[in-house]
Symmetry: D2
């Protein structure tokens, strides 16, 4: 049973509302039903962007503007229901970024958390975070923590392309954006490549380590390791009806999400698997890393293949059906929702 | 140094942007400077509502609509910079609610957290939360936890009026609103009045108590106790330059904020005290509970007296100056910001 | 099924064991059954000390040694099964302390946590902790946190007597004892009496408060408040079959136990109440604060009245039976056991 | 300044003490100085056991008793200052265990936590924990969590030998030992080998994973990965003066210690490195995994080589000096001490 609709509008009330309006006042009962809804109800829509299509535009952008002039050469995947809001869901942003051979995306930092899922990269493509440089390879999941200096470069002969995911709309909603330029294109590299993986990612931690923040100090989660874990678990044959085999990337310091606000996942759907219906309050962005399939989202269906990107709004029922084995990367605001006590999910039919 | 402004708009680019637009794409570099700002920058404005003014309108509303028809008879304090958004800050809502003698505001529940600061109440004014009824008195801070049944009633001969604060815009931003009517005006009362205070508020907890949520099980924080604590601390003369004597209402289960998303405070500013400049990322709503003074917020100044309500936007410098001793209640999204790692503050001059 | 008993002792083995012995070696199989037992099995015994008896000896001690010469004039309640170990359970200590009129127990500090349950006190009996003095009254539960300066004094005309509980054996077991004399009988009083109650105990906390330790900053939990909470809850009539109405004293900073290692409880057993059998791994010291009754502990039974003290060993079944309403204070190592994952309990018959 | 020594023993007092003794009472002032010491002071002594020596005895034990008859064929390394207490420190136990070719150490479980550091193993040596079998190799650190079924077997042609570390004395001190035989020599193997490494150790966790305990679900921390991490960090040249390069094994669920009570470490001391003096309250057992060196512990010095085992008591100053690069494994009760707020350390000279 939902909260009631707005009461009748009488001439008296209308006149009263007009006077309220001049005093920065609004009668709650005229809007209550639209802000306290029985179920999540937003303008966010299900949508898919085909990678081939995106790539064509991105390459064209490469000829129209440099990374340096653009600061970041990114095409924002803007939700069709949220045009003008620089958002793929109500609180997250996604964009496809290109760094052409020889380019640098200049060093800066900001309070927004950022993730990258690498979609094209040859040896020589790299990102540097807080003094450590890491190489990018297909499927790698890389983060830049809040207020961490980061710059990107491409010393290969091929373009490097990745999907960016940030909490831009969320940080704007909280009025908490801070940003700085480093002042030079690249920050100095002060740590060996792989240092953070050795220091924090081997199920060991430096004695007395003090995190000093919520983001994972591991900033590159290589695809081969994540994929290897899924492959191993396939043998155990404990397949979740709604999710197949699904792992969440975590911060080794506390077992929490890799970023303070954004949760990230990698899941394997075995050959011919069809998931049971599932819905949750965290609108989710999916990227097909391997395989192909069809996802039904509410009344719509999307046929996807490698590198295609689609978004599932909050509380829309989703069913994935794959032909060959598929691997999906996904991210959502579940990290934030769980901290705030807002997350809900429903497994199976309503 | 801030991130750069948007690059030049050439005809070629304009034509390209037009084609992007048809594919739900946007060039990041045209909007980057507006979404990743060097400092918080929102449409939220400083503003004050005088209680006398509000009360007049509210009483008029009392004659135009019943609590039952309205579900809740509330005038929303809508931030002048955020008109149409049912918000007093970017992510919080505030409204002034009236229950006339003999009325009931019907029982319902929702995922939004709600606080009430009681501004007028005679014995007989009450609210019931999850089966326990509590009496309302001036200055009491009462919460209704997420998904907790609650209804209000007034068995006195005088109107009861309070300030509501909810995380409505935040929950909408996260697309996580759920709500239900109870189906009757009042839920059954199944616990003694004062039960939760005895059970959870005496610095003791039931053996093996399992919270099952982030909200405090104490739902009425009586003013006389809170005020008494401030009075006692005045004697110790440890006055914070920025905040006077300021206590945060906490959840006795974990020492965290009383609500999952909203932080609430009571502070005493001694006679003739002037605070040092202070700014923080949590836009804050203040209510003068006792005394009077002037608050400078950025370039504006507000002279307030008892029950007046004003809002300080994110990262705006605020200075309070009081003549006689004053007591301010305030609430903000600091609870959420701290969980998400977004909170910043700056004490003293910039 | 338990681990097996020691294997047969052959002459060959005996000769071998003799050679091992010279090398600081022992064959595990000769002792395994005694160190890895199927159930807790220690030398700790159930026992009761009558207050009248204790008091007589304590008063005599008052004439034989001064508090100053003794540092603390305390009679240790030594478990009959653990003589020579200064222990009432395997890891806790209890003693009855006397400060005669005009005396001071000199200021010192140590890493051991200490609790006091006040059993006799007239106005003027006081303890000072970290610069704040508090008055002692019957039934008050007072703590001195690890490494906190504390001294006791008696400015009344009557003796003050309390039960001390410390984690002395536990800290010795961990080889982690540190202690210092202050150098003067009394530390300076730098805070108003009642300051910590106002600052931390009103379900509010100072903004930005940093605990800096695990012990509660509230160091006096007055009996009237604790007793009042129990009285209130009696009306709700939710009586636990094993425990009556039982509350745990908590640290308002985090909702955890008031001390890092020792858990403390106050419970009310209504008139004519008989508890269901209960056993737990935390050997527990009980003090009757009000009323009288009989407690069966394993095969033994103890009839107690006000101020009598009895101890229940780990995993011994206990049943309390009262005539008139009774109030029991109790303490145990449950705080430590829960942190270490060792705590177990069993409700009802085995 | 320490607490004072025991007061003078007068004939009157002696007579009084005698009467106290009959009532299970002891005057605190006669023992206070020995239980509340200014610094840790225990009977635990520094000691070293040479592996070659141990191995000879252990092989002899192999001919005198079967694993089945012994339940576990282990020689306890008993601290020379704690003879008869089955302890290597006041609260920890260590022993050297042998399983001969073809043998099984039968399945059982207990509330004690156990660690194994593998010192000799050929392919075919294995341990099974909660249904998953893992192979043992030199230097592997393997745990059996509290109340987890475990059995060991050796299907190779060579003896397998490892160091066991358990919290036996600690669990006895807390009176919290429970144990059960499985009833058969081996529990059924229900999970693929390597399952837990894939599921929990790749910086990813199963979605919605609920730990249900404090012990790490990763139960084999292979030496090659741990050693590889140290090797990598050597390149970064951040060598701690007291500890060289030292990592702690952690539970990926929460970043805490791998076991609830016992902390475990692996540290690399570069060629010719000499540590600065260090002392801490956690008495520590060291095993040389690679290299050789000399450790000074208080006034004693121990020259160690591969597989030698030595113990450093609480608060004894230790200095390690190595010729060639060395790797030390160590374990202590630091996990428990930190949870209980007891841990202290001092770096550099006193």
């Amino acid at each position: 049973m939902s909260l009631k609709d707005a009461p009748e509008l009488t001439p008296e009330r209308e006149e009263f509302y007009g006077r309220l309006d001049t005093r920065s006042l609004t009668p709650l009962w005229t809007v209550l039903h639209s802000v306290v809804t029985p179920e999540p109800k937003s303008d966010c829509r299900a949508h898919m962007w085909r990678y081939d299509d995106l790539r064509t535009f991105l390459v064209e952008a490469g000829s129209l503007i440099t990374a340096k002039e653009a600061e970041r050469r990114v095409l924002v995947l803007e939700n069709p229901g949220l045009r003008g809001k620089t958002s793929i869901t109500t609180d997250l942003y996604a964009g496809l970024q290109l760094v052409t051979p020889g380019e640098r995306a200049p060093a800066h930092r900001h309070t927004q958390s950022a993730l990258r899922l690498i979609l094209e990269a040859e040896p020589g493509a790299h990102t540097t975070v807080n003094g450590e440089r890491t190489q990018m390879s297909y499927g790698d999941f890389i983060i830049t923590p809040p207020w961490g200096w980061h710059d990107h470069g491409n010393d290969s002969d091929a373009p490097v392309i990745w999907l960016d995911g940030l909490d831009l709309p969320m940080v704007s909603h909280f009025d908490a954006s801070f940003a700085e330029e480093f002042g030079e294109d690249q920050q100095p590299v002060t740590r060996e490549s792989g240092d953070s993986l050795a220091r924090y990612a081997a199920n060991m931690l430096p004695v007395g380590y003090d995190a000093g923040g919520q983001a994972s100090p591991v900033f590159n989660y290589p695809y081969d390791r994540a994929r290897g874990a899924l492959e191993k678990l396939k043998a155990q044959a404990e397949i979740d009806p709604c999710q197949g085999i699904k792992l969440q990337y975590v911060n080794p310091i506390d077992g929490g999400p890799a970023m303070p606000t954004i949760a990230t996942f990698l899941q394997l759907l075995p050959k011919s698997f069809k998931t049971a219906p599932y819905r949750s309050t965290d609108a989710t962005v999916y990227v097909a890393v391997e395989g192909s399939g069809r996802s039904r989202v509410g009344d719509e269906a999307f046929d996807w293949g490698p590198r295609d990107i689609f978004v599932v709004p909050s509380w829309k029922e989703v069913v994935h059906e794959v032909a060959d084995e598929a691997v999906l990367f996904s991210f959502s605001d579940r990290a934030a929702q769980q901290k705030l006590g807002l997350f809900r999910e429903r497994r199976g039919n309503s």
